[in-house]
Symmetry: C2
Subunit: 353 residues, 2 copies
DNA sequence: CTGAAAGCGCTTACAG
DNA sequence: CTGAAAGCGCTTACAG
């Protein structure tokens, strides 16, 4: 026994986790056999397998994900890149629901498929941890126009799926998305149905498909009616604070240009607009219809409650993860790249009489 | 050039990412030198370094986090274990804010320190991905009594810090926490100050310190006054639905036992209680004070708005990550294990006159 | 049925 | 200043 090694016959070495060698030594077999036994590969005698399993359990052996990952360069790790992370100011209690719901659902779905889920902000920033690039596949939500993250993942040949399209490269990548235009149309039709003639759109400032597509849709709608489109862009992070500015913008100008409906893409803007309008004596929904493109919690509890789109983020995240898992495993997709359609949650702010 | 290898002099091999060998070959040096040059270790001539850097950039080389992790068994990965993940029903729009705010803040703080952050549900469940155990250090929020996760991490010698104590093993592990008792006292004192004589506590059903410590505190408070404590446990996931049941429980019984204040640990329960009380003609705050231990969004927008504790989850997460990073790097803690104190957000539900 | 050897992509003494 | 060798903890042909 002059062998170099742990030198601890029946015990693991004093520091660090037990390795496959420790198990092999304790069981009096080779590492190869341990590997075979524990993974059900090759042919190993029943008794040997059972003995090895017992000993492995005894000494608390767990294979290292890292070492195993080195073989197939797969860690069993997925990454969710929430592009508008910083724009969101996520950490205020008013934080936009949508992405948090995505993150929660994605994490759980990943676990169900035997993957862990990493939350990544921007893997192209200088100084990102190497681990931020170590996932087997990526999900990128709401990519920006010509998004460098997508470019980089492509260059590195790391598989990914996008939730929402890169507005400048639609169709170039694997994307799941209902399409912002479709979603915006749903709300605009609803507003028109309940009487709106002059709909203003309040978008965010990120150059993603959600903002750009919605703006295009509103512009088209206005053009059909020979109107100048009423569009206002406001940073997402402003939250409810933005309400005052938005209302001022639309109501302090020329009276003929005043909207009779304001469609805010983010729920927090809509909440702010409703409050600001009421403070000015503008009644909602009597004088002004208000709606939001993505529900925030306060839209359900404010007075009046505010009509929103439900984008079904949990379901979308679930699909995205299923796709990412297939990409990670190099399997065929065989999946329709469909996503649940947005639905309307009609509330007081667009219900007259 | 009959050498075995990539065989692509100036190019990387057709599939897979370029490795250090590809760079070495293209630069006409050894892998060792590439490693030295790119990591600033050893002594390499300036020109050689620059040449290697240029070539590495050209072929898009990035070191593999996995291979590097194998040396020091560190991936640059932290894990956040949100224990009550399932109890929370996180994915409804009413989802408890607290943990989502923790997750967001933790992810960002991790990135700032050069780490990625993984969201893990329960790493002790059979069939969890290996990667769920591959983090360099863990943060476990609100562990249960005798929490198996803590036991397992200890056995595996994986460093971790706890947010909130394991109620059965207080002080045995590294924990940061203001202490549920202190937090509950803050709210109970406030309620007493504004006139409550008979305070009921609605706790959750998870056996964590937050629930157990709060119950103890209320019991002590009642005992001091020679009262039977009014305590009711309700699954966290019931959310606002629970309001009706809770109000029934306290108001359909013996009149002398009716509370004049209800302190719900979760914001959603408080929202439900407020609504249910009002439906019964019980006025809030005139007849009944209502407060929540952890703010949910709807408490700020409901009518009446509901008084809550602000636990400052972002700041807490930040501290937890800083500690986890030090643990991961085997550095001295040198940090006070303090955490921001809870503060009161006093709102209409406890403001009389 | 079992094990020695090579290799995954790096890093780190160590020798030249 | 540079590189050959060993090793991190596994798996996977392959030989016995």
């Amino acid at each position: 026994m002059t062998e170099v090694g742990t030198g601890y016959p029946d015990r693991v070495k004093p520091s660090g986790r037990p390795t496959i060698k420790d198990v092999a030594k304790a069981a009096g077999v080779s590492p190869t056999t341990v590997s075979h036994a524990l993974n059900g590969k090759g042919v190993v005698r029943r008794e040997t397998v059972q003995n090895i399993e017992r000993i492995a359990a005894e000494i608390g052996y767990r294979p290292s994900a890292i070492a195993r990952g080195l073989q197939n360069s797969r860690l069993g790790l997925l990454a969710l890149v929430i592009r508008p992370f910083h724009s969101l100011d996520t950490f205020l209690p008013e934080g936009v629901d949508y992405f948090l719901r995505i993150a929660g659902s994605a994490s759980l779905t990943a676990m169900e498929h035997g993957y862990s889920m990493m939350l990544v902000d921007d893997p192209t920033r200088p100084g990102v941890p190497l681990s931020a690039l170590a996932a087997d596949a990526y999900i990128v939500t709401e990519p920006f126009e010509d998004d460098p993250v997508l470019t980089m993942l492509t260059e590195q040949r790391i598989p990914f799926v996008t939730v929402g399209a890169d507005p400048a490269r639609r169709g170039e990548f694997l994307e799941i998305d209902e399409g912002a235009e479709q979603q915006a149309s749903l709300m605009i039709s609803h507003l028109a149905e309940v009487g709106a003639r002059r709909i203003a759109l309040v978008a965010g400032t990120d150059r993603n498909d959600w903002n750009l597509g919605s703006i295009r849709t509103l512009e088209a709608w206005a053009a059909e009616r020979g109107q100048e489109p009423l569009v206002f862009a406001m940073p997402e992070a402003e939250g409810e604070q933005a309400g005052e500015t938005i209302v001022e913008h639309f109501f302090d100008g020329d009276p003929v240009e005043r909207p009779d409906a304001i469609f805010c893409l983010t729920g927090r803007h809509a909440a702010g607009v409703t409050a600001a309008a009421i403070r000015r004596g503008i009644r909602v929904p009597e004088d002004l219809l208000v709606a939001a493109g993505s529900g925030a919690m306060q839209n359900r509890t404010s007075s009046p409650t505010v009509t929103t789109l439900d984008l079904h983020p949990e379901e979308t995240a679930r699909r995205a993860v299923e796709i990412a898992v297939r990409l990670a495993e190099g399997r065929d997709l065989e999946l329709p790249l469909t996503v649940p359609s947005a639905t309307l949650d009609i509330r007081e702010s667009t219900t007259r009489g």
